[in-house]
Point group: C2
Chain length 581, copies 2
């Protein structure tokens, strides 16, 4: 880590609410080290040697060089032409090709397995490979197809990766917490069951930050995951491994989870698309640790992928054919509606340039400006939305996040005495830190949240606004352990608005994306904003993807996905096109 | 009150968790008495003299005589033949007759207004009449119809009553709490807005118990509401006035609310049907006091009526045409599905005879046995469900009900120093009484609740069971201030299962409904059960309606309503038929 000492000092000065004493215990932790080492060894052992490539340099050197692993993949042709053809094919087309006998599930699987291994070599995205089992499953699907001349379901033969805390029977579930290395799942999560029944092939589970807390990567078990476009940068979190693996092309679709931005941040930082659906559409039954009865801000599961069409395929298949409400009483029986693609000239979009919490950096400002100008040129009616309660929303959401004083988490940390990552400390100091709220206090915050939901909903409906468009984060992918603000994503968890992070096709450019003269006298609204803004040195974010976020009203997920499809296509963004060039 | 002194002693011995000191203040309360008297006077003044009848005796005498006001209504022909024709016509037919010009909204309204006034005279069901405004609204609807030759919506001209805490602009909203007599609503509740837009006519608001707490009636402002079939008995609560008014025929449909049984208890006790829908289908935005951020057990609004078809009409019109999600972000955009009426011989129903908390009294036992035998004869597959966690569910639900220590309520009580009704004291002693839980404790209870939801859901799905059938309460309508147990309804609030209370057409018969020999050595499982069971003297519940409850899985409201329709019709229950005899 090379954090500016001044900023590091500022960072520690802001940690005033939870002194964190008593969590860490080096002596106790020592006893866990063999278990961690065994776990790491198991990952290494699970990667077939023949699928690996030789890294062009030491990992530390690649990081320092801001190495672009995506470019290297294509420049060096690390896959065969046919493997590129398969792994750069949209999932919607792959299932068609398998369903019509043009491709076998096995050949599709093998191509993705190879690419996933490469993704892991460059980004450290995986916590577990089980390629033999994936292969056996792919064979089984091919046999089924041969026998029945039909697929088992709409995802027949589709390689799908899963965030680690989505339980798989007989496998460890740790959520990045050392003391949970002893925790083995006794059954599959409902979402894994559904995807399996629809025809998915599992073979890789992906990395998360410590306790899934920050919009960053890294834990004491498996370390950090990197942005494939710039290995100096974070892949985002908490679905860190999903972001990197999907952006790199290691699977067609990945399942992440999001309670403050954890699907959207990895999608934005790593370079793919990701949808945080409205709550209770994708089942969260059977996750490691589960929600634990927390319902003020509901965590959701959702898909990441390289095309919006695949996100649509996932949602439609999962909901309409998977019928999660038959396996989880929390899942809502709301069918995925067929929504026609909107005509851009009929859309009215409210743009959020600043959320009142944290100023965006130059590349994000440029990305938003360029996209808005393009949309205007296509006839979209653009209005500006200045959130008058952005700060209130952030405060309420962060208080709600920690209002149980993170009691259960702290117990889990103490159980191993593991050292607390920098951002875990940050997270535990949000809201009121370790103070445990009373039920009345929690309800009061819920009421404010409900008032904000009404304010936003009423605003959109009364002004006939279709969507909100804004940043996914105030910066492009940050350096590891330097992501502090989650206000741009967290607001939509608080509101329970479906939000889709999409790639703009733009990338950070150190020559262009510099602070302007008028930025220099800017007065920071908080220490956090100062940390975030001062950490932006244009030369350290070279080529980072620029993403934006489109949000709609609660349960208008279908409209958000349809509009994103149209916008992304209009912008000419094609995350699969590099192979075709 | 004539409560058995022994039982009264037992009652007070059970109040050990909240000593209630400091809430009551006779001196302070004295200052509120003029306001209460003015409120009562306003109710009296709002009743047009010409609509009133002369009571056949003093109210106290009628109570002591267990007077049957329903029988009296028909025997004495308190309405004209045409008024009976109108007010005993199902709502589904009334809207057709108005829509085809056979009846005017005004004539329909006037008949119901008259019947509602009679309902109030016998049962004390109303807290406010505004018959002039109702008439003006009916005229407006007739004019619209004359001009456009069309209705404004599917409820055009339908007289609908509203529970008092559903806000109406410019009117007091008190929820039975004295200190809220100063509280005037600044806008209509969303549900009132929707019903108005669909064509409803409002003219009466109905009574509630103190702070909506018990499944009984009565408060310090407007007193008790009585069961129209036996004026000694309670009309149930907390939608007390709705139960009595609807059963008596004072409106076509009534809107109640239910967080522990408050729609179903008044339906069961008063003699009509009532649906507690799954959560978030009918908007609760804009209620007096609202939910206040409580979401562990979610309060819902729902309809009461004399036909299941009208419940269906209400739900379908409200949801599909009212689109509550456009006015309330909490409302789910789940359309009301058209579900065909099931064939009884295809149904599998699990019967709950005892919930593990409180033994049912003889009339309920008889009602359940007779209905089950009839259903068996129609080919329904019946299995018995013995809830293994009934007591746990009750304990969790009552703890969740009071886990904020009822802090806000206690403040509201103290503000006027009003004397606390007997059952308010009971309610405040449920769970852990005044102890305020921490957020962690609340979440732990939520987790147990979620486990119970999974247990019940999985049981139904894995065993292909369509519905649960059981008591709505362990007794028929109790005497006022003697309803303690809510386990039979509360469980479905905890599970968030749609539950419909329907009349069986059977009534308590003191000659038949007596404890049997084998009942006499029964060992009570709790003091509450003893209170409930020992309070049953067959001679004091003469002619009370016997109701049952049909419940289905979360968001299977449509199936529950469709099956209830078929069952009620099969049983030959017709709450409108008296007029036709």
């Amino acid at each position: 880590m090379t954090i500016d000492p001044d900023l590091d000092k500022l960072f520690y000065s802001l940690l005033t609410k939870d002194d964190l004493s008593g969590y860490e215990d080096p002596k106790k932790f020592k006893e866990w080290i063999p278990k961690i080492e065994a776990y790491r060894q198991k990952i290494d052992d699970s990667v077939p040697q023949e699928l690996k490539t030789e890294l062009p340099n030491s990992f530390e050197k690649l990081k320092a060089d801001q190495f672009n692993a995506m470019k290297y993949l294509y420049d060096q042709k690390l896959l065969s032409l046919h493997e590129f053809e398969i792994t750069d094919c949209p999932g919607t087309l792959i299932v068609q090709k398998i369903a019509t006998g043009q491709w076998s599930s096995v050949e599709v699987f093998q191509a993705f397995a190879k690419r996933a291994v490469l993704a892991h070599q460059f980004t450290n995205c995986a916590v577990e490979f089980f390629i033999d089992e994936g292969l056996a499953r792919a064979k089984e699907l091919d046999e089924y197809y041969a026998t029945h001349n039909a697929t088992v379901g709409p995802l027949h033969g589709l390689p799908i990766s899963l965030k680690e805390h989505i339980s798989l029977k007989g496998r460890i579930g740790h959520s990045g917490i050392v003391s949970l290395l002893d925790n083995t799942a006794d059954k599959d999560a409902v979402t894994a069951t559904i995807l399996h029944n629809l025809g998915a092939v599992f073979y890789v589970r992906t990395n998360e930050p410590h306790a899934l807390l920050p919009l960053d990567t890294g834990n004491n078990i498996t370390g950090f995951t990197k942005c494939p476009f710039n290995l100096l940068l974070s892949s985002g979190g908490s679905s860190s491994g999903e972001g990197a693996n999907i952006a790199y092309g290691g699977s067609v679709l990945g399942v992440g989870s999001d309670i403050g931005g954890s699907i959207r941040s990895p999608a934005a930082f790593s370079g793919c698309h990701g949808l945080r659906p409205s709550s209770r559409r994708i089942s969260a039954r059977g996750l490691v640790g589960e929600g634990g009865g927390q319902e003020s801000v509901v965590g959701v599961l959702g898909p990441l992928s390289r095309t919006i069409e695949d996100i649509d395929l996932f949602m439609k298949s999962y909901i309409n054919e998977g019928k999660p409400w038959l396996l989880d009483p929390w899942s809502l029986p709301i069918p995925w509606r067929n929504v026609p693609n909107p005509n851009l000239s009929n859309l009215k979009i409210a743009v959020v340039k600043d959320d009142g919490v944290c100023r965006v950096t130059p590349p994000i400002r440029r990305g938003l400006t360029e996209v808005v100008e393009r949309l205007k040129s296509a006839g979209v009616e653009i209005v500006e939305f200045v959130p008058k309660n952005g700060r209130l929303a952030y405060d309420v959401a962060t208080q709600l996040s920690n209002c149980d004083g993170n009691r259960a988490l702290r117990e889990a940390f103490s159980a191993s005495g593991e050292p607390l990552p920098r951002l875990t400390k940050w997270y535990l100091n949000l809201g009121e830190g370790a103070r445990e709220f009373t039920v009345s206090e929690n309800r009061k915050l819920n009421s404010i949240r409900d008032g904000l939901r009404e304010e936003y909903s009423d605003y959109l409906i009364e002004n006939k606004i279709d969507f909100l468009l804004g940043p996914a984060y105030n910066n492009v992918a940050p350096k590891e352990e330097e992501v502090y603000n989650e206000s741009y994503t967290l607001i939509y968890n608080l509101l329970d608005f479906p939000s889709l992070v999409f790639q703009t096709g733009l990338f950070q450019d150190p020559k262009v994306d510099v602070w302007q003269k008028e930025d220099l006298n800017y007065e920071y609204r908080s220490g956090m904003e100062e940390l975030e803004n001062r950490g932006y040195d244009p030369n350290q974010f070279i080529g980072a993807p620029i993403a934006l976020q489109l949000s709609g009203r609660r349960y208008c997920d279908e409209e958000v996905v349809a509009a994103s499809k149209v916008i992304v296509n209009f912008l000419g963004v094609d995350l699969l096109k590099r192979q075709k060039d």
